[in-house]
Symmetry: C2
Subunit: 394 residues, 2 copies
């Protein structure tokens, strides 16, 4: 074998302001590289317990079955669907972006009889729209995305959850981009299966998926007639490892657990309400700055997620040229549009550690430079001035 080895990985330093991964907190990155122990080491089992405790605080739940799935957010998504949906179950999926579509795809693979209701990209569902569908479809399971990462839309959940609960159906909620950035109340809203990811508002690298299941969801899972269609994602098996008997299931991603442990400590040190307020504050500055140079939102007014801003690319500005220059000249990553928004929208993340005043100001200053280069008309300095006005008025 004539091996020509590549050099060791030397990553460029980026400011991650896309739809995720977001900026990793330096303390999290440092925790990631701490010495690995065995997955049944008494020390590791204690870390798992602590992790579960902190996840319960974050999800605002007492659910016993609260843990991290050994995969990225999509693995958590599929874990909720594959476990809750049995072949023949009627599943209602609310689709207003990529991640709703994915829920419908997954529910079909689980053997569910899937019905979707749809809204245009950027819009959210009203409680009445969901109620009408509940009456028509009479689903066993309902799935909806709280923070649609493809459109930046903030879907209100509380009233919809109450309506679903009234019918006896089980509700799956996607909080991948929501958790840590906006209020998620699993117990108060009586949600049945909720999943998230580490690489959004938790400022942790991708690789684990926090999930929580209500007691009634667990009951449905334990009564299944057919085995879950994935052994790896079968939460009744995974839960035996997280529970006190510690039955071996698979080798947990030890170092990722260290990183998430530190990430949760950081979020809870700040406090959830303080974190939500910070996300709102930085969004309002970004929004004011963008408005000052004529850039508006692609998301339904009033439903823009504080942590993910889907904004319209101005006429005459080339998407790729601008994003490439942002990355190469400033090290800033923002996200392209997906699906219906491809080429029309930028997705600017202000998630977790990335939601900082410095990031907002630097991005706006850099955007002014690059927009001017592309001949976009606006008053130079207007974006930064408008943002600063928001911060000064604190």
């Amino acid at each position: 074998m004539t091996t020509h080895l590549p050099p060791t990985v030397t990553p460029p330093i980026r400011i991650l302001m896309g739809p995720g991964p977001s900026d990793i907190h330096p303390r999290v990155l440092e925790a990631l590289g701490r010495p690995t122990v065995g997955h049944l080491d008494p020390f590791y089992l204690q870390i798992m317990d602590e992790l579960q405790g902190m996840l319960r605080e974050l999800f605002r739940t007492k659910n016993r079955m609260t843990m991290a799935i050994s995969g990225t957010g999509s693995a958590g998504q599929e874990a909720t669907v594959l476990n809750l949906v049995e072949p023949g179950d009627r599943v209602l999926v609310c689709v207003n972006g990529v991640f709703g579509m994915r829920l419908a795809d997954m529910a079909g693979r689980a053997g569910g009889e899937v019905t979707t209701i749809e809204k245009p990209w950027g819009e959210v569902f009203s409680a009445d729209e969901v109620k009408q569908a509940l009456e028509r479809v009479k689903p066993n399971v309902v799935a909806i995305v709280m923070a649609e990462t493809s459109t930046g839309a903030w879907q209100p959940i509380e009233e919809i959850a109450a309506a679903v609960r009234e019918t006896g159906a089980y509700l799956i909620v996607d909080t991948v981009t929501a958790l840590g950035g906006i209020s998620v109340e699993v117990d108060k809203w009586q949600l049945d299966a909720v999943y998230s990811g580490t690489q959004k508002c938790l400022s942790c690298p991708p690789g684990l998926a926090p999930v929580t299941f209500s007691d009634r969801a667990v009951e449905k899972i334990l009564k299944r007639k057919e085995k879950v269609r994935s052994w790896y994602l079968d939460v009744s098996l995974i839960a035996n490892y997280w529970a006190s008997d510690r039955v071996y299931h698979h080798t947990a991603p030890i170092n990722m657990t260290y990183a998430l442990h530190e990430a949760l400590r950081i979020v809870l040190e700040e406090g959830l309400d303080a974190s939500f307020a910070r996300h709102r504050k930085n969004q309002s500055a970004l929004k004011a700055g963008l408005a000052a140079v004529g850039i508006g939102y692609a998301t339904q007014a009033g439903r823009e997620l504080p942590q993910l801003n889907a904004v319209k690319i101005p006429d005459g500005v080339d998407d790729l040229t601008l994003r490439k220059a942002l990355l190469e000249r400033f090290g800033i990553e923002i996200g392209a549009g997906l699906g219906a928004f491809k080429g029309k929208v930028w997705r600017i993340g202000l998630m977790g550690y990335a939601s900082r005043e410095s990031n907002v100001l630097l991005l706006l200053a850099a955007m002014e430079q690059l927009l001017a280069e592309q001949g976009h008309k606006f008053t130079q300095g207007a974006a930064v001035a408008a943002a600063n006005k928001c911060y000064v008025s604190r």
Copy 2:
């Protein structure tokens, strides 16, 4: 909320000589904590290409579809099964330990009609035994474990693979504990779907699963009538992200990719043949040392894996007491027995970076101390002397 935060993670320093995770190479741990970039960053895409190239060298294959699944080894295992097995496929699974049993479980969940053949724990299958089953069952898919982590048995693959290929069936091979420690020849042996893990002989934390699929396996997958039963593990979708079009599937575990990249560099720097020889050498010293204090193997003679030694716990020695003392007084982790071997067997790993002369000597010295404390009869110093003799005679 009255949060009582746990302190930051401060792991004890362990010497990992169990069935995995094994000792992580310091260079790998350091690479893990390097700055995170986006999963579509041009830099990251290049790292993925390099990773694929190195994985192909390790698997000794030209297979285009060679990549890392975003989960632990078990996710790779299920990815091969769920993709290759279609509902109604006849699947023959060879079971001689935990991981064969798991393959059978997964094949059932995939909708396969599963037939198992079995051998006692610690033994391997002969080519004739498999040939007879092939004639009887006429399977579409066959699955077998090359390095059974629960028993330390080294299953010869080449002749069995030829027999399976002759029938036209597809062969899945588990190389989780094999890869990097013993010879795996994907192209030469014409294997169809092969999976591994990062935390065994690659000296990398758990969290990714290297996999490779032959062109004919890919053809079978692309012709499926029913969608793969997991979206997350659907390799036809995952491959679009690894291929030149880079279609977004899920957010890859960026930092784990850095770690695996460095781990593969280390293995290929040493060279595969040199690595295999090192594993054999250290095993022979361990084996001689253990024999000198009356400890023998639970695995069929001649089929003991160099990287994983399943040895019989001597009569009168308490399993838990000894393993606890090894961990607490020496920081050494060895593995307990699983299933049929529970309480009867220790599993001593000498995998990757952990397969070092220092580890062998320290373990034997510590074992002598602890065995003496438990009243086990042997000549003090005999284990270390026997091992040293192997090294001196180099």
